[in-house]
């Protein structure tokens, strides 16, 4: 745990301060008018037997420890859907794709509202895979399984909903191959965690906009599998989330 805190120090604490300040200031910036609209991250399920779908992009910046002088910021396509099971339960499915690497998850969510506040808990199972084939350079593949237990809190300001979500990252298994040589690792352990802050609000007519920022500290991130990282350290992956709830 000391590693986690040793990563966040100096100038990075000032960043966290700005983040916390932004959360505290947001309520005063929002309208007071109450309204209900579809959500993806806010802990409130869709009506029973109905889908709620969001499309968008995420952009993760891998740490410089891995990319060195190159600043890689490749966006990934993000399709996210909820299905209402009951007033408190929903199913959650999500697909992230950069073509050469992809991540699919399904899970269940429990939610409960207390006036303008809401809380939720979820558990997602994810499969990811990637492949990189370039003649005389790369013949690499990888795949694996993650589990993501999470808790979410939300605050409904009417036209704007604020969300905070904490998630643990469990690496159950991952395998990779180069040419005919394959390596598999049965890890089944906690490799990191993330904290996300997001806001959802009306963007255009019936379309809602999600803007979010996720801070992930992890020893292994599926999106950097092709770098074959050997760092047994918690590295920081900032992520911007933009989604349109249809």
């Amino acid at each position: 745990m000391s590693h986690v805190f040793s990563i966040l120090r100096g100038k990075q604490w000032r960043g966290l301060l700005v983040l916390v300040m932004s959360i505290l200031l947001l309520p005063s910036l929002a309208w007071t008018q109450q309204a209900n609209f579809p959500s993806i991250y806010y802990p409130s399920p869709p009506p029973e037997q109905q889908f709620q779908v969001s499309v968008g992009l995420i952009q993760i910046t891998p740490p410089k420890e891995l990319t060195e002088e190159v600043w890689v910021r490749a966006p990934a396509f993000d399709l996210h859907a909820l299905y209402g099971l009951s007033p408190h339960w929903s199913l959650d499915g999500r697909a992230l794709s950069q073509v050469i690497q992809n991540h699919f998850s399904v899970g269940a969510r429990w939610n409960h509202s207390f006036g303008d506040f809401a809380v939720g808990a979820g558990y997602d199972v994810a499969y990811w895979f990637g492949f990189l084939e370039v003649v005389d350079a790369f013949d690499s593949k990888a795949h694996g399984w993650f589990n993501y237990p999470s808790v979410t809190v939300g605050y409904n300001l009417g036209k704007v909903r604020l969300i905070g979500k904490a998630e643990a990252i469990l690496d159950l298994y991952h395998a990779s191959s180069v040419g005919e040589n394959e390596i598999a690792t049965d890890k089944n352990k906690l490799v990191g965690g993330s904290f996300m802050v997001a806001m959802e609000q009306t963007f255009w007519k019936q379309t809602q906009l999600t803007l979010g920022f996720r801070a992930t500290l992890t020893k292994f991130h599926w999106m950097t599998w092709a770098l074959f990282s050997t760092f047994n350290q918690y590295l920081f992956y900032p992520e911007i989330i933009i989604g349109f709830i249809l």
Binding site: K11, Q12, G179, L211
Partner: protein, 423 residues
């Protein structure tokens, strides 16, 4: 408008959170001189007898079950300072120890480091007279299983070394198939928190202590054509201390760079010649793989290569200097050298290109696998095959077990050394 302010705050947080962090790593042991006191250097026979694979009978939870102990030396004129390195199997851990003896007790003091984590610390150890010291101090030591016990203590970070570690001699180092352990960027990356900076004179001196038998260095020219060692395309805080310069190395003269640039650990920016002088005259490194950067004229490298081949011959040293050919552009420049097929080179392209250039070494990426059929072809033609840049411990083991490469370019020389010597 209000939402935009909120988004701006979030983005400000993102930028601030992305700032660079500094992780401290324990440097040279300032207490070593106290611990070693008035001890005397080991005799050559003692050093030779100590090398081997040891079982970690206490401390294996942190360091792993086995350690390979190997000596290296740095020459300074007629004197040589020897260091004992230990290569462990967990998290690319290693230690580097200064040594000395008093009567028949052997003393060790230095640092350990795990390259895959941010951990490091101090290490002290002894071989007592009855635990192998007397045997080791004999003019002709006879060593067998369990005949040497090294008892030591280690500490994490700046703490005093109070945790116990016990190593027991098991067997000699593997001396079967020869393997070049090629240290990337002179021995290792700055990002792996080594005590010396990548592509420096100091890391070339340090490389053998990390397990290297050979090194790879990145060579690019300054504005006035002086070849220097530097990896990145631009001057940046990943590799150099804060300074007033921005942009490319090639935008500045050598004098400007020497006046204003220091590498991360304060070292001077080395010229190619300074690097070769150290490798040739102060170490036993037997091969230098020159990574030719896009702006570096191959003709200039060739002229310096020929000069140092003659110097190595005069010094009676086994010292191979290979010009790396990573691209078609560099191959075209190489072909402009008269009798280029007689010039020692290393080709990173295809086997066919390697054959056409008569390169001594074919060097593909590890991401294509062990490619045993192509390696066999290369061997059949009297060439060698190296692979780059292999750092993942399971893949290092896989390539050593199921592959036939003659050399591995790596950032974790200690890890390759471990898997090689404990075979």
């Amino acid at each position: 408008m209000r939402s935009l302010v909120a988004v701006a705050l979030l983005l400000a947080a993102l930028v601030s959170l992305s700032c660079r962090k500094d992780t401290p790593v324990v440097g040279p042991d300032s207490t070593a001189s106290l611990f070693l006191g008035d001890t005397k250097p080991f005799k050559p026979a003692t050093r030779a007898a100590m090398e081997g694979v040891y079982r970690v009978v206490q401390g294996q939870d942190f360091f792993g079950d086995l350690v390979a102990l190997k000596w290296s030396g740095v020459a300074n004129g007629v004197d040589t300072t020897f260091y004992l390195s230990g290569f462990f199997g967990r998290d690319a851990a290693y230690f580097v120890l200064s040594t000395g003896s008093l009567d028949s007790t052997l003393f060790f003091s230095g640092q350990w480091r795990k390259l895959m984590t941010t951990e490091s610390g101090l290490f002290h150890g002894v071989v007592l007279s009855h635990a192998g010291g007397r045997q080791l101090m004999n003019p002709s030591p006879v060593i067998g299983k369990d005949s040497i016990t090294i008892s030591g203590t280690w500490g994490n970070g700046e703490e005093n070394p109070t945790k116990y570690i016990v190593l027991q001699y098991d067997r000699p180092l593997y001396r079967g198939k020869d393997l070049e352990i090629i240290g990337h960027r002179g021995g290792g990356r700055t990002s792996d928190l080594l005590p010396v900076s990548e592509n420096s004179v100091e890391i070339i001196e340090y490389a053998e202590r990390l397990g290297c038998t050979a090194i790879e260095i990145d060579v690019r020219p300054t504005k006035d054509g002086v070849p220097v060692l530097y990896h990145d395309n631009t001057l940046n805080l990943r590799l150099v201390q804060k300074n007033g310069l921005m942009g490319k190395m090639e935008d500045y003269t050598y004098d400007q760079l020497q006046g204003l640039i220091r590498l991360i650990h304060g070292e001077r920016l080395p010229t190619f010649r300074e690097a070769l002088d150290v490798a040739l005259y102060r170490t036993q490194i037997r091969m230098v793989y020159i990574d030719t950067k896009p702006t570096m004229p191959v003709q200039s490298l060739y002229e310096i290569q020929q000069e140092y081949i003659q110097k190595a011959t005069a010094a009676g040293r086994r010292f191979e200097l290979l010009i790396g050919l990573p691209s078609d552009e560099k191959v075209a420049e190489f072909k402009a050298i008269p009798n280029y097929t007689q010039v020692p080179s290393l080709c990173e392209l295809t086997v066919d290109e390697t054959r056409a250039l008569n390169s001594r070494v074919w060097c593909p990426r590890f991401t294509q696998g062990t490619q045993n059929d192509l390696v066999a072809q290369v061997h059949a033609e009297g060439r060698r095959a190296f692979v780059w840049t292999l750092d993942s411990p399971p893949y290092i083991n896989e390539f050593l077990t199921n592959g036939n490469f003659d050399g591995i370019l790596t950032n974790y020389a200690s890890m390759v050394a471990y898997y090689h010597y404990v075979r």
